[in-house]
């Protein structure tokens, strides 16, 4: 994500209107590039202000790396952010320099497991060499050890989801790994994944503003899938995931 591709609050509102026109009802899960490239807390404070003003907005919380070594304080932070309408935790282990291997990140994973908070992680962050060597095994191990955490793999800028069969093996071997849809660009790829697994394993993502507004949504809306599968992908799967979050 390039900071130069950030959009204004007005753009987000317009995007929601267009999405609403296309789908009758929509929620936007928003990540702040400020949280990714500058400071997660400052960036997510901005999101919290937006979620206050717009009930169609929910936040993607970026994990602040200063909780490494202070894991005991993370639960309170997470619950506080949940009250500010954050619903997904985003991890940037490569960019923000921490290890999410189960032995290293166990205190955080235990909290996420307790609350069943969905985790979103980009394949770019799992590219350990910078040369498209994705650490699929890590996700398999984490998902196996923490079956109550839904792990959503975002294709990021990587083309790996188009060129690899590893994720089929990962989906087959786990029940709590999901694919975010924006980078499922291959011919019939969405339809093939639904056929080989089922539509519950795909979570809609737009990659807006990198992609044009409705491109990713229309890919699903006009896909060669039935209505139920389209609805699962566009909203049903994430709705169910979020309703399972155990923070009261």
């Amino acid at each position: 994500m390039s900071p130069g591709l950030s959009v204004s609050e007005e753009n987000i509102v317009t995007y929601h209107e267009h999405l609403g026109t296309a789908s009758n009802n929509s929620t936007i899960m928003l990540t702040n590039t400020l949280s990714v490239f500058h400071d997660p807390v400052e960036g997510d404070n901005q999101i919290a202000e937006l979620t206050c003003r717009h009930n169609f907005l929910k936040g993607c919380l970026v994990f602040p790396n200063y909780f490494i070594g202070n894991e005991q304080d993370f639960e309170k932070y997470l619950v506080g952010r949940f009250r500010e309408d954050f619903r997904i935790l985003r991890l940037y282990p490569k960019s923000h320099k921490y290890n999410i291997d189960p032995w290293a990140f166990k205190d955080i994973f235990k909290i996420l497991e307790k609350f069943a908070v969905p985790v979103l992680i980009s394949l770019d962050e799992l590219d350990i060499t910078g040369n498209k060597a994705i650490d699929w095994d890590l996700i398999y191990r984490i998902a196996g050890e923490y079956p109550n955490i839904p792990f959503i793999l975002d294709g990021g800028n990587s083309k790996e989801l188009m060129f690899t069969g590893y994720f089929y093996q990962l989906l087959g071997a786990t029940g709590n790994v999901f694919l975010e849809s924006h980078n499922l660009l291959g011919f019939n790829q969405v339809e093939d994944i639904v056929k080989k697994t089922n539509s519950s394993r795909i979570i809609f993502g737009s990659n807006y503003p990198v992609f044009p507004e409705l491109l990713a949504a229309k890919r699903i809306m006009f896909s060669r899938l039935n209505t139920k599968d389209r609805r699962n992908i566009l909203s049903g799967n994430l709705d169910r995931m979020i309703s399972n979050i155990n923070i009261r």
């Binding site: 390039s2 011919f187 019939n188 093939d192 080989k196 992609f211 507004e213 491109l215 229309k218 006009f222």
Partner: protein
């Protein structure tokens, strides 16, 4: 439930100028366009495709055989590129001579009819075979190069004979091009900006920059190069996973829509995505018609 009818695709005819047919083991793709193409093409109002058979990247003989088979099985719809492999120059040039020579004309059929030792049945069989080959051959329209796959830079002298042949026989050349500053280091061989040097020596070439020189900020550099070479037959296609917001509008604004060809790079992008990308772009209907169909029809004479 959304239906493709809602997209009003019948308002536009489409030629896909950059599509791949056939297996390619280093890329995991479940669905084959070949198996699904009639369904997809009909639903998206594709009138014609100009394809590259993936077996060309392994073996030129297999590539041409599979290309001819696909062409035979898809009359009135499929057209093809042959691949020039700079590691097999002689073989590549012989394919160019055979498929872009003057041997597939009515004059040659006449020669066959007048040759001694013929009888009416052999004459008919020969004519039928010749006509069929003639028709199939005439649907090979361009040459594809893949500097990244072949790891030979666009400016390498191993392409010189290709440029000469392409100019002499007036053949458009489609080149894979990409941003050289990406994780895959071999993309440096396919840097679109290298065509500036090629075109300075061979200004009469017809070149299509596949993937518009992808990705990110590199589009700005490609646009600058194309503006500098404005009088030349230099085109881009929009094939591939290059669906950046505002990019198509920028290309149209800076270069005009007549320089842009529609291509999907299927199966490495779903054709629906590329169609949606053009349909929903903020350009005129005329620009969309040019991109979807008119430019390719003019360039390839189809």
């Amino acid at each position: 439930m959304n239906d493709l009818k809602d997209l009003n695709l019948n308002d536009f005819k489409i030629i896909d100028t950059h599509i791949h047919i056939g297996k390619y083991t280093s890329s995991f793709v479940n669905s084959s366009y070949e198996e699904n193409q009639n369904d997809v093409a009909k639903s998206l109002n594709f009138k014609k495709i100009i394809f590259i058979h993936n077996s060309f990247f392994t073996d030129l003989d297999l590539g041409i055989k599979n290309t001819l088979d696909f062409l035979s099985n898809n009359p009135d719809f499929a057209y093809a590129y042959i691949v020039y492999n700079p590691h097999y120059i002689e073989k590549s040039l012989s394919l160019i001579d055979e498929y872009f020579g003057s041997s597939n004309t009515a004059a040659d059929l006449l020669k066959l009819e007048n040759s001694p030792g013929k009888n009416s049945s052999t004459e008919k069989i020969s004519a039928d075979i010749f006509n069929n080959k003639n028709s199939v051959k005439s649907r090979i329209l361009g040459i594809k190069i893949h500097p990244e796959d072949h790891q030979v830079a666009i400016t390498d002298k191993r392409y010189e004979k290709l440029w000469e042949a392409a100019i002499k026989k007036d053949i458009p050349v489609l080149s894979h091009t990409w941003n050289p500053n990406v994780a895959s280091k071999s993309q440096k061989y396919a840097d679109a900006l290298l065509f500036e040097e090629v075109l300075s020596k061979h200004p009469d070439l017809k070149i299509i920059l596949g993937h518009a020189g992808a990705k990110d900020y590199y589009y700005f550099k490609v646009i600058e190069m194309m503006k500098k070479n404005n009088g030349k037959n230099l085109f881009v296609d929009i094939a591939g996973d290059i669906f950046y917001r505002g990019m198509l509008e920028l290309f149209v604004r800076e270069l005009g829509s007549t320089k842009i060809l529609f291509g999907t790079d299927s199966p490495w992008a779903d054709p629906l995505l590329t169609v949606l990308y053009v349909l929903d772009s903020k350009i005129s209907v005329e620009d969309k018609e040019n991109i979807f169909y008119n430019n390719a029809a003019a360039l390839f004479n189809i």
